[in-house]
Amino acid sequence: MRRHRMTIRRRDLLKLAGAAALAGGAPRLARSADNSGVYDLERFGNARILHMTDTHAQLLPGYFREPSVNLGLGTMQGQPPHLVGRAFLDRFGIKPDSADAYAFTSLDFEKSAARFGKLGGFAHLKTLIDRLRNDVGPGRSLLLDGGDLWQGTGLANIMQGAHMVEAANLLGIEAMTGHWEFTYGEDALRRNLERFKGEFLAQNVYLTDEAAFNDAKAFDPATKRVFKPSMIKEIGGHRIAVIGQAFPYVPIAHPKRFTPDWTFGIRDEELQKLVDGLRNNDKVDAVVLLSHNGMDVDLKLASRVRGIDVILGGHTHDAVPQPVPVTNAGGITLVTNAGSNGKFLGVLDLEVARGRVSNVRYRLLPVFSELLKPDAAMAALIEKTRAPQAAVYAEKIATADRLLYRRDNFNGTVDQLICDGLRTQLEAEIALSPGFRWGSSFLPGQPLTMEDVLAETAITYPETYVQRMTGTQIKDALEDVCDNLFNPDPYHQQGGDMVRVGGFIYTCTPAEGIGRRISDLKLGNGRAIEAGKTYKVAGWASVNEQKGIPVWDVLARHLGGGKPPDGRNTGVTLRGVDGNPGIAG
């Protein structure tokens, strides 16, 4: 990264982007808010459910590159969501070089970003949501959020998500569930929920036995459920049940100190009883699961639990244009996943009859910010919310010298920079960085500010660490994370991608079992990492409490230092995945 403070201003960048688009012969100038016919949906059914998920507090439109590597193995190979690039376009009938191809895949990302612009933004989302709700008329729609609404920016971190509650209220979210929401701890979570006008639903969060014994607060002390598990909403004369499914592995994926009194899990037996109760006792006409399980977990769950019509899924950030039908003992359950970063809005139109859903239409609409006029009230709220930090966050630290992104099973250019920063700033041989699936993308030439640095790193446990680890411990750490990604049983996967590494290379054989996937670990100088030898390792986002400086300061210093990326010491060699359509060719 070059140190860059003066040469390219934001306006210049926009000009450059425009120039690139013209060079490509693209009809960019024709794309404007007046040309939003793409959002004119044919009327269908009698109940419309709008689903957003994993926005990661991205209030403003932005770039987010979809993965070029998203491997599925075994029975999941070649199945959604494990398709990328051309295989993805072919499967879903999307035209290459189209706006949709840009929204849903990583193909020609830089070129297409210049043509089709940024996606998402809450003011744009608000306009789209209002329009789709107005189209069906009052009392005929429902707006749901699948969680990871309150985390993902520096502002969200210092506000502990409070400002996102205001945005959610203005947007009109009627129910949500959670994941990163839990990392603010119980007090902040409850404070936010007191102000949230919708329902926070989670059938799979329970008091621990100790907390129950000490009479800790619970929605239902008899079942020990901490939160309301479900709600029933009447839409167009039909009763629709919405069940919340929070991320099942919060105390495992994150420090347990944030949720000491709560225990999670998938809990599909309890879910089955809940569905049966809603069907048999409450006589609902449709059952929807608002899930933060991740798509692979939802697909397995749909094969086991009867009586759910549609699972509106999130967590794994898979933008899947069509629902996947799953057969179970009770019939068919449709499984969706609605991407991330505010890029998409799921539109589920149901034809509900007495006691059943007779027909379904689903669309996953990309939120092209250039086609939507920002809602004035939401824009004002966003501006007001951002104002106190605006000056600090606007400080330009560097300029992107290449496409910066994170989303990929093994590597991301953003993570490479973080690993470089950890190694140079903390003087370590080796760096480890978590494979989060959130984090903005930046185009070459785009200025990088403190706000941008925080958009890649803002969590409630950002402290870095430096420790000595043996070669065996390093390999075991990689094996453990890799198993979370590729365990053949989706219930044993936590979501997220492979831990990113700096200072060494390795070979990964995803189809192997735990303990046999990771091999040939070699330092940058070509020497093998030895099992019994110790190495100085730097990292962040540890589930154990750490004391080092926050990773965003490490990254900012590194970017400001102007050191070029160290490409020598990175790279994962994949084995046994030839021909897998989860890798872009």
Partner: protein
């Protein structure tokens, strides 16, 4: 313990709370593997079984025969342990004449974790916590009517972190 539902009588909830504190003797709901010593007061402590390394050897030492899987044995265990040091594992069964229930973790240094003697007239529901060294099968054996029945579930133990 987590599969408690509202339709259970209030007394059951009180019992479960007691179990959380330490244990109520004589009800077959006890914690931490020390209970079998008391529960089996009239029997010889199965010293040899607890010393066996593998699950098969421990079961053989304890019962002298093998168990058959049964869907009447309901084993409740997490998919992934939130803390490998205290993994909540519980079992209930609809089998009649239950005389003992044993818990094993196949990859622990000594597989047998706990054995409960179930006196006549006791609900055959046991909830306890096992310390698990690593990802492995948790096996529960129910001795009922002189026969052995089992249920098995793999519980993953992970160092955690790095969730999306």
């Amino acid at each position: 313990m987590r599969t408690v539902h509202t339709d259970l009588p209030a007394t059951r909830r009180l019992i479960l709370r007691g179990a959380g504190a330490i244990a109520l003797t004589g009800l077959g709901i006890m914690s931490f593997g020390i209970a079998p010593v008391f529960a089996a007061a009239n029997d010889k402590y199965p010293d040899d079984a607890f010393k066996q390394k593998g699950a098969a050897d421990a079961i053989k030492s304890l019962y002298g025969r093998t168990a058959e899987p049964s869907d009447k044995v309901k084993l409740d265990a997490p998919e992934i342990a939130e803390n490998g040091a205290v993994v909540p594992i519980s079992v209930t069964t609809t089998l009649a004449d239950v005389t003992s229930i044993a818990f094993l973790a196949s990859e622990n240094p000594n597989a047998l974790a706990a054995v409960y003697r179930i006196p006549p007239g006791t609900l055959p529901n046991v909830a306890n916590r096992l310390k698990m060294a690593k990802t492995c099968d948790v096996i529960v054996i129910v001795e009922a009517g002189g026969k052995l029945y089992s249920a098995t579930k793999e519980v993953k133990v992970t160092v955690g972190g790095c969730g999306g």
